[in-house]
């Protein structure tokens, strides 16, 4: 379930914590395993991480379900994380999310039929100065408008 390469990476994180506290590495371990499995965590992979770190499965699941960046359903090649917290909301994020949903033909939390793009509503990404904004993979896009969104999304391959 966990590749040797992933184990090596996880071990690197385990080493940072005192002996016997290997479960502290759970967030990184989940991230590493997710990256190796189509950017997605399954029940089995969470259990595998828990087993590897010698912790109860449910304890790993608590972490995995708490944070937005762990995916529990298939996701697209590109993930659009649309902020809908207060600054973005006041600047029209809700309308823009609706626009994006219509454009892609999916609801937030879903993935396009071609598997290219998924859309998620997320909490504040700390870029209020450029609200409304979203993040695609590791990159921030700020001061969004409907036109700007169309351009950005059309450019995704």
């Amino acid at each position: 379930m966990i590749s040797d390469n992933a184990k090596k990476q996880i071990d690197h994180w385990i080493e940072k914590y005192p002996q016997g506290k290997q479960s502290s590495a759970v967030m990184e371990a989940l991230k590493i395993v997710q990256a190796e499995n189509d950017n997605q965590l399954t029940h089995d992979s969470i259990q595998a991480v828990a087993d590897y770190l010698n912790m109860p499965g449910i304890a790993a699941a608590e972490v995995a379900t708490f944070y937005e960046n762990y995916n529990h359903k298939p996701v697209g090649k590109h993930i659009i994380r649309f902020c809908h917290n207060i600054s973005c909301m006041l600047n029209g994020a809700d309308d823009l999310i609706a626009h994006l949903e219509t454009k892609l033909g999916v609801k937030t939390g879903e993935v396009t039929k071609d598997g290219l793009i998924s859309v998620k509503k997320v909490e504040c990404l700390g870029a209020c100065v450029g609200a409304p904004m979203f993040q695609i993979n590791d990159k921030y896009y700020e001061n969004l408008t409907a036109d700007k969104i169309d351009d950005i999304v059309d450019g995704l391959q």
Binding site: I58, A59, A61, E62, F66
Partner: protein, 752 residues
């Protein structure tokens, strides 16, 4: 901790510095509302309900997480405190469905009680409420997680008390859900306690679902008798039926927890196999009759076969040790009065010449204080759940624990597991004794001269010698070990030399009661196995089910079924086998239906009264035995209640059975040995009839575990059966032995 004084609501109260405020208010009888706080669990301070006002502190504080200091002035009832508590209550009710009319918790619900006092009549919340999809977590616990207020008591119970974190909080914020991760749901042997700790109706008893309201039932203290703990419980009854068992409080016994088998075994009481009327067998046909007819028939049968012709030595009396001490006392008194010395309760022991004699000299509360424990031949978690719980507490406070077992079980705390085949145990212990004696420069007895201690022996001896308060626990897996008596004696010797206490957990339920009233043959009597070899003419059986209870089940059934053998069975359940060999069936009251007592591992005589009347014609066995004695015109049976019986035997010194057998290490068996254990939810008749327990994950376990090498030796593979039990190949079992954990009948056991 220093003694301090604090002021609560204007009242000066003594406390220790650092105590939590809620512990003090609870002690002083000052009511502070709470949901997440539980005295036996860690503090989470997540429900916020216990907010109080502390002078000099600007914001209200949670009393469950506030340590007190000298001179602190606390207000639990002033405007600020009340307003905070009401505000929290309003928040907690936002997402609560308020479906009290259809909720099983209604009437015994902490949320309901507190809401009556602190809640508002009208909700200001007009938005949609959160709904959580139903999930099935097993046959014992019903979930309605929409009602959950996220107090996390069940989660903390799992990780802190049950020792296996099965429940957890997934998701976040409004999406937070308390649920198990695994598809099989909750599998802990203590899971039912989650029902007790849940302050709302999110976790309720599944077998009790929609049965009754709590106020309709009468709740009385009783004792659960499925293991050596004798957990204190409340039996809740309605119209003559036990409807529910909940845990009682007794720090010396079970604290405030009970095992699932203690909680759910009551379901067996209403099983369709209950024996309800006296029956006699006339010309091979069963006939339901009145009690006096059945008893006369029994007397006549016993007279014809053994009594009239001075053949009391051809009568055998056998009893299950799950019966009450009073029943066992009366039965042995009756048998001895008519000159019969053949009586026994040690039905599952293969060779009684190798019977285990080891005293239990450590009380449960002291077990928590040990710094080293050596477990030999026991899967304590399933066999003695509350004793395991105490040991787990010892481990968590630093005790070093070692288990010498045939299989690496699912222990719920950290211990050193040493895999041993049954035939290695005596040698390992002899090695330990040798090292200990050598260290103390004590002359070695003859039987140790040829022993050369293995590395395991060295390790075990080192731990025992280094410990200040060690304990050695001997478990049930050893009873049929070929060297059982030697093992017990080696343990006693080692314990004496290293100053260890011992606990003999190789016996079941009320075996200590049976020992106390001397329910074993004296020198002229026959033990259970000898009876089946002798030409007996009659048997008196007390709640015996041969296919499960006897080690030599086949020869037992054969001896009981003989044409000219007259069998009187006092039973709470009937089945085809019992009907086949019995000549008279006398229906007896089961657990919670009779008064009596049990002697638990603390050597406490725990008395209980009958919670309900036995169904139909069934009667408490002590009454039946008394009437039988009267009909036989035996003197000294003028009892009006079971307390008079108790008074007769309670001050008798307990009978000692420490027949010193010489330690013999020469008999080394090389054959593949089998340790047969009943599934923990099939260990007595009542449990075997409790349906929900049988359906649970633990109740379903039925496997003969062995490693690949043993399987090869036995020419078995996955999917095969060994002694009728499905083979499970796992490397957690020691080489060349088989560990059977089965929910099947055992007439196959005599093959091993």
């Amino acid at each position: 901790m220093a003694d301090i004084k604090i002021e609560i609501d204007g009242q000066i109260v003594n406390a220790k510095a650092g105590e939590t405020l809620i512990a003090i208010t609870d002690r002083e009888g000052i009511s502070v509302p709470r949901f997440c706080y539980h005295k036996k669990l860690s503090t989470s301070a997540s429900c916020r309900m216990c907010l109080v006002d502390i002078e000099g502190v600007p914001k209200p504080q949670t009393s469950c997480s506030t340590p007190v200091s000298d001179g602190m002035k606390i207000h639990t009832q002033n405007e600020k405190a009340k307003a905070s508590q009401k505000a929290v209550m309003e928040f907690l009710l936002i997402n609560h469905p308020l479906d009290c009319p259809i909720c099983d918790q209604g009437g015994e619900c902490e949320l309901q009680d507190v809401a009556v006092e602190y809640g508002s009549d009208v909700s200001r919340f007009s938005e949609g409420k959160r709904v959580v999809a139903a999930s099935d977590i097993g046959p014992l616990i019903q979930t309605d997680m929409t009602r959950c207020i996220h107090c996390t008591r069940c989660v903390r119970f799992g990780s802190e008390i049950a020792g296996m974190m099965e429940m957890g909080g997934t998701g976040r914020g409004e999406d937070l859900k308390i649920e198990p991760f695994l598809a099989e749901g909750i599998t802990s042997e203590l899971s039912g306690n989650m029902i007790d700790v849940c302050p709302v109706g999110a976790l309720t008893s599944k077998p009790f679902r929609y049965e009754l309201r709590s106020w309709q039932m009468v709740s009385n203290e009783s004792i659960a008798r499925h293991d050596l703990t004798g957990s204190n419980v409340y039996a809740q009854t309605y119209k003559g039926q036990v409807k529910r068992i909940v845990s009682g409080d007794n720090e010396a016994v079970n604290e405030t927890w009970i095992s699932d088998r203690d909680r759910f075994s009551y379901e067996g009481l209403t099983h369709e196999n209950r024996l309800l009327t006296p029956q006699i067998k006339v010309e091979g046909q069963w006939k339901e009759v009145e009690w006096n007819v059945a008893l006369d028939f029994a007397i006549k049968g016993l007279s014809n076969t053994v009594l009239n012709n001075r053949k009391a030595h051809k009568l055998g009396g056998l009893a299950s040790s799950t019966t009450t001490t009073e029943e066992l006392y009366l039965m042995q008194k009756l048998l001895r009065e008519i000159g019969c010395e053949n009586l026994d309760h040690r039905l599952n022991v293969n060779n009684l010449d190798e019977a285990i004699h080891l005293e239990s000299n450590l009380k449960l509360q002291a077990l928590e204080q040990v710094d080293h424990a050596l477990i030999i031949g026991a899967n304590l978690r399933l066999e003695q759940p509350m004793i395991n719980h105490r040991l787990r507490k010892a481990q968590l406070s630093g005790a070093n624990i070692t288990a010498l077992n045939v299989k690496e079980f699912d222990y719920n705390y950290a211990l050193n597991h040493v895999s041993v085949a049954p035939n290695e145990i005596a040698t390992i212990l002899a090695g330990v004794l040798k090292i200990v004696l050598e260290k103390k420069s004590i002359e070695l007895p003859e039987y140790l001269s040829a022993i050369s201690p293995s590395s395991s022996s060295v390790e075990l001896a080192k731990d025992l010698l280094n410990a200040e308060r060690p304990v050695i626990l001997l478990g049930e897996h050893i009873i049929n070990n070929k060297q059982a008596a030697s093992i017990a004696q080696l343990i006693a010797e080692i314990a004496k030399q290293v100053g260890a206490n011992t606990l003999n957990l190789s016996i079941s339920a009320n075996a200590l009661g049976a020992q106390h009233v001397n329910f074993v043959p004296n020198s002229v009597g026959m033990n259970v196995n000898e009876m089946f070899k002798a030409e007996m003419r009659a048997f008196l059986l007390l709640d015996v089910y041969p296919e499960y209870d006897f080690h030599h089940a086949n020869s037992a059934i054969e001896a009981l079924s003989k044409e000219d053998v007259f069998v009187v069975s006092l039973n709470s359940f009937n089945n085809d086998l019992v009907a086949q060999y019995s000549d008279v069936l006398l229906p007896m009251a089961a657990m919670y239906e009779t008064s009596g007592s049990q002697i638990n591992i603390n050597h406490d005589i725990q008395s209980f009264t009958a919670m309900v009347k036995a169904p139909d014609e069934a009667k408490p066995a002590w009454k039946v035995l008394k009437v039988l004695a009267d009909l036989l015109e035996l003197p000294g049976f003028h009892y009006e209640n079971s307390t008079q019986i108790l008074e007769e035997f309670e001050h008798q010194p307990a009978h000692e059975h420490s027949q010193e057998t010489a330690i013999d290490l020469s008999q080394q068996s090389t054959a593949i040995e089998t340790v047969w254990m009943h599934n923990c939810y099939h260990s007595d008749a009542l449990l075997r009839h409790a349906k929900s327990l049988s359906m649970s994950t633990l109740g379903q376990v039925n496997s003969a575990s062995m490693n690949a090498n043993t399987a090869k030796e036995l020419a078995l593979s996955d999917g095969d059966e060994y002694l009728g039990v499905p083979v499970d190949i796992t490397e957690t079992v020691a080489d060349l032995c088989v560990f059977v954990n089965s929910n099947q009948a055992t007439n196959i056991r005599s093959m091993s």
